[in-house]
């Protein structure tokens, strides 16, 4: 087998992808001008993820290539999710028993100057 048999992505596809990426960039900037409350972050992340998937599947050719590489990427991403999730299990739940208190002393002194008096 020679490399000539590698999948060649047509210029038309590449152009279409860059156009979509440009539009999505504008959309994400536009969306940020409105305060959507708790939806701000998920929407920004959703658009970024769509953009990234286009780059990965077409520009990086994962759609056409070998499945092992897709598996490698998936494993890497799962590890990122594990990393974030398990740390949040700590940082979001501090103070769940009396052995730890949530928040820092610095914070409690700022928000409640009287809190130290008890």
């Amino acid at each position: 087998m020679s490399q000539a048999e590698h999948h060649i992505v047509p210029i038309k596809t590449l152009t279409a992808v860059i156009a979509v990426l440009g539009v999505l960039t504008i959309v994400t900037v536009a969306a940020a001008q409105f305060d959507l409350g708790s939806f701000n972050v998920p929407i920004a992340l959703l658009i970024a993820t769509i953009k990234a998937s286009f780059v990965i599947s077409i520009f990086m050719g994962l759609k056409y290539g070998n499945k092992t590489n897709a598996l490698i990427l998936a494993v890497g991403l799962i590890m990122v999710v594990v990393f974030v999730t398990f740390i949040l299990l700590d940082t979001e739940f501090r103070g769940d028993t009396s052995a730890t208190e949530s928040g820092t002393i610095m914070q409690s002194e700022q928000t409640m100057p009287a809190a130290e008096s008890h």
Binding site: F86, D90, F93
Partner: protein, 557 residues
Amino acid sequence: MSATAQDASINFLNYDKSLKSWLFTKDHKRIGLMYLVAVSIAFLAGGILALLVRLELLGPGETIMGPDQYNQSFTLHAVLMVFAFIIPAVPAVFGNFVLPLQLGAKDVAFPKLNLASFYIYLIGVVIAMSALLVGRIDGGWTFYAPYSERVGDSILYVTTGVFVMGFSSILTGLNFIVTVHKMRAPGLTWNRLPLFVWSIYATAIVQVLATPVIGITMVLLFLERFLSIGIFDPALGGDPVLFQHFFWFYSHPAVYIMILPAFGIVSDLIGTFSRHRVSGYLFVALSSVAIAFLGFLVWGHHMFVSGQSATSSIVFSLLTYLIGIPTGVKVLNWVTTLYKGSISYKTPMLYALMFLFTFSIGGFTGVMVGVLGIDIHLHDTYFVVAHFHYVMMGGSVIAGLGALHYWWPKMTGRMYNERLGKIAATLVFFGFNLTFFPQFIMGSRGMPRRYYDYLPEFQQMHQLSTYGSWVLGVGLFMILGYLLMSLKTGKKAPSNPWGALTLEWTHTTPLPHPHNFTQTPVVVRGPYDYHLVPEMFENAAEDGSVKSVHDVSQPAS
């Protein structure tokens, strides 16, 4: 043999004896040997420090050094042993030497990268050790913030050094994964891979996935020290517990970088020396990969008293058991492999059986410190020190010594003195247990770790431990002695001294140059299918060596 005009007297050791040919070699075998020399020096230095630390603890108060020297000694011992010795040891030495051979490949996938990672490792060690010239390094290998940020500029060198060594580890892991995927000989399907290959493969996955995080952690620690970015330092509004999460996200999986290769070695040794198919081959193989992944889910069990939330402690404790089960089942599989086998007690096998003993103790005490209620009491005491020495030394190092004795003839072409080997193994076994078992007892009685001084009630146990370290030291120096001696006076090794079936034993000893195999081998059976080739052993010599498969009959291609 086919068109090979290869001169049998030319091998990979003697084709070019110049120093330059070694330093610039891309041959995985020579790189493996260079790693062997480098990690042995690190082990020697770390070992001498350990003996000094034990000597200081012979009595309470000052024995041979003051508190600052003591604190630096145990820190340096740990940094050397963890980052410069045990993490690169088995994967880089035996992985490099044996993995391509067991795969029937001519080399690893990226030989240049392989040489580069050796030099990156050396540079990392040099940078880390140059910290000694700058100032003190203490606080243990864990570098917990904010203490590590207050020690001084020397932390700059240690973190950079660890970062660089991590890079070397990543490149080695990456190289091995690709090698296992792409370089297997024809017929060598996944379920015919030797278990050593499986374990190195699992190790490589951990190296690639975990090491980048210690990289960014070291970068952040570095920036925190010099730019006060306030991420980990509580005085600047940072969170020191976050540092521990970052650190253990790498360092717990790193424990599996250290122990998984040992599982592979022990599987190969027990299979070979009992001439028996390893019981539960598929389970032992796949559980290595499973352990590699599960190893990422349990790091918080190092942090039960760190001030992390109870929720995460509970989740981490539960997941810790998930990893205990497959590990325990592996031990049972190794023991059942002996059943109805034909067990030969050569030195490597002694180490394999020793591993089953010491590693099991390490494993069971691991279950104990994983129990939430008990760990509160045992955390950061000598119980934990004893536990991880039973796993790291009793597991990885003992298995590594087994591997060294097993592959020594293939690496050097010489046999060592079997009698001395057995004596040294016995000394190591008793010395090791005498050193570390008393630490379980004093730890559960409350003796904290990293203590320069201690209360008189712990003295008896500390003394036993120190005496043990001397026996252990004698055993290890003896090994160094007779192995070096064998290079000069050892008798020439036959090509298959143990009667093993994996591919590295199918060729002359030492291996030929320039290629590992004069012909691409074709694999037709599993790595431990002794029952399929009884004819191989019909003419076995008195010492157990056999003519290699290759010499007997050429497998049909």
